[in-house]
Symmetry: C2
Subunit: 322 residues, 2 copies
């Protein structure tokens, strides 16, 4: 016999600039069915995109026999506004302006629809199914193409007065003109140093400044954090220096975040964390060096244990349990 709790299911959707992933998720965080067939840029009309998502959702529901058991749909999307249920002026999506995502979708699907940005969804995912289960104060930092963050304080996600709180990828780490130009229009943002693209920029800079130290990274055209990781593992000095600089700056930023909300843990998430200790060691060292004595040794620096391929769907789905 299936209990009432086990009967309840949610849908998690990750709307990305290239693809949209959809999954049916149970209360334990198991993905019962999934679909990754929707290519986001194919839909020039937003309503057609919502129709496409809805028809996939309905198909997955009938595949797992989940008719009448769906409590809601949670969607992680760029520039999503949790309060308004909208996507607002997202530069990487094909539709401009303010899009009434939750209203339009819930009318079609007949269940409540919630949305927030992907980093906030990751934080809710960690709290519901992951490393942050039971924590009341923590920060998830997503290290992907950009740097995002989801902040939880007193057990609640921090949305701020407008739904857009938690843009920690854009705190200024290098002030003035020497700061790297950021996609947000500013200079010196954390994201321009500690994202995948930031690591590639740092690699280029270091290789240009040091033309003599041998490195496996020389000659690679588009250096990825995986290239740097593999090189560092093989003992490459330049690769280690790239991780040292990246991790040190990330740790300096985290030390400031700790002074703000004194979290129990900082959970790192995304591609860069696959480099393990090469990134984690300098982060921890810089955090310890830059917090005040009162905070030393308190906040744990952890790596997310959610599988990368599942995390976006799980994070979004967790919105619908709240």
């Amino acid at each position: 016999m299936v209990s009432d709790v086990e009967k309840n299911l949610v849908v998690g959707i990750d709307v990305g600039g290239t693809g949209t992933k959809i999954g049916i998720v149970d209360a334990r965080g198991e993905i019962l069915a999934r679909d990754e067939s929707i290519a986001t840029p194919q839909y020039t009309d937003f309503n057609e995109f919502v129709d496409a998502m809805n028809s996939v959702v309905q198909r997955l529901i009938s595949e797992v026999g989940a008719e009448g058991r769906i409590r809601g749909i949670g969607i992680g999307a760029p520039n999503a506004n949790y309060y308004a249920g909208t996507i607002e002026n997202a530069p990487n999506l094909p539709w401009k302006g303010v899009l009434e995502l939750c209203k339009v979708f819930s009318e079609k699907a007949g269940v409540p629809v919630y949305t927030t940005n992907d980093a906030n969804a990751a934080a809710i995912g960690e709290m519901t199914y992951g490393t942050a289960k039971g924590m009341k104060n923590f920060i998830v930092i997503t290290l992907g193409t950009g740097v995002g963050s989801g902040i939880v304080i007193n057990g609640q996600l921090v949305y701020g007065c407008d739904g857009f709180a938690g843009e920690l990828g854009h705190v200024t780490m290098v002030r003035g003109k020497q700061g790297r130009l950021c996609g947000c229009g500013g200079r010196g943002c954390l994201e321009t140093y500690c994202s995948a693209t930031g690591v590639a920029r740092t690699a280029k800079e270091i290789l240009k400044a040091d033309k003599t130290t041998p490195s496996a990274l020389r000659g690679i055209k588009n250096i990825t954090s995986k290239d740097v990781f593999l090189a560092a593992k093989a003992g490459d000095k330049i690769a280690k220096e790239i991780f040292k600089q990246t991790g040190t700056m990330l740790g300096e930023a985290i030390a400031d975040f700790i002074k703000f909300s004194s979290p129990e843990a900082i959970i790192l998430f995304g591609g860069l964390t696959r480099s393990g200790k090469y990134i984690l060691d300098p982060v921890k060292k810089a955090v310890d060096k830059n917090v005040m004595p009162i905070f030393k040794g308190k906040a744990k620096i952890l790596i997310s244990q959610l599988k990368d391929s599942d995390a976006a769907i799980l994070g979004a789905s967790a919105l619908a349990w709240e």
Copy 2:
């Protein structure tokens, strides 16, 4: 006839390194009786200090006929831990170690006693009686001898996992060795630039670097922010430059705080705010320049309207209403 709500009163106490202020406060934020006679450093024994506070409290209660009407006592104190009800290793107080302030005091006074640091008390005071009435997301920044902060998110004060969140005076504004040495042991903390002592340091630096521009500040031995204000008002270029540098850095820091919690308002509090537009204009300009487009024009930058002489007592007293 006095209604029940009007009957209820609280006690607010501000424990400072030099003096301790005590007041009886009603629900409207009127201070019905006050005492500023306790010189903190006179008491080498912590228990005697609590006895002294308690006897003043009992005298004030009988003065206003408040017997049986006191709901609680709120205390703002350096290094106070809200969760534990303790003062922990406060460098500016005569007693070392961890002091069981709330436990000891409530046993003597017979009513509940609450404590937090002075900046958090200021934030609760603003929310209860001041500019932040009705706001759910705001940050109070206290600009005094040091720089402190009290952060409110979702209508709750942010204490973090250990009670010590909100140390925004110690975010790093100038990284590396060129950052000014801070009392916390770090370098480049906001407090070393935007506090009263920070302004004096900036004044010295600017006067040393520019020996030709005439200024009323030359020859003043210990420059205060009041000196700088009076000079700026009289058109002094050096004084205006001091405010410009101070306000710009404060605005850059505030821009990063906005990226964290997207507050409705930032409320500035303390001595430096008496300089009005001289400090406020560069702050607003720097905030606007350093936030992302999504945040532009949203967070109001306000100056506290609580009277300086009352604010510490009111802030502390508000703790006891919570």
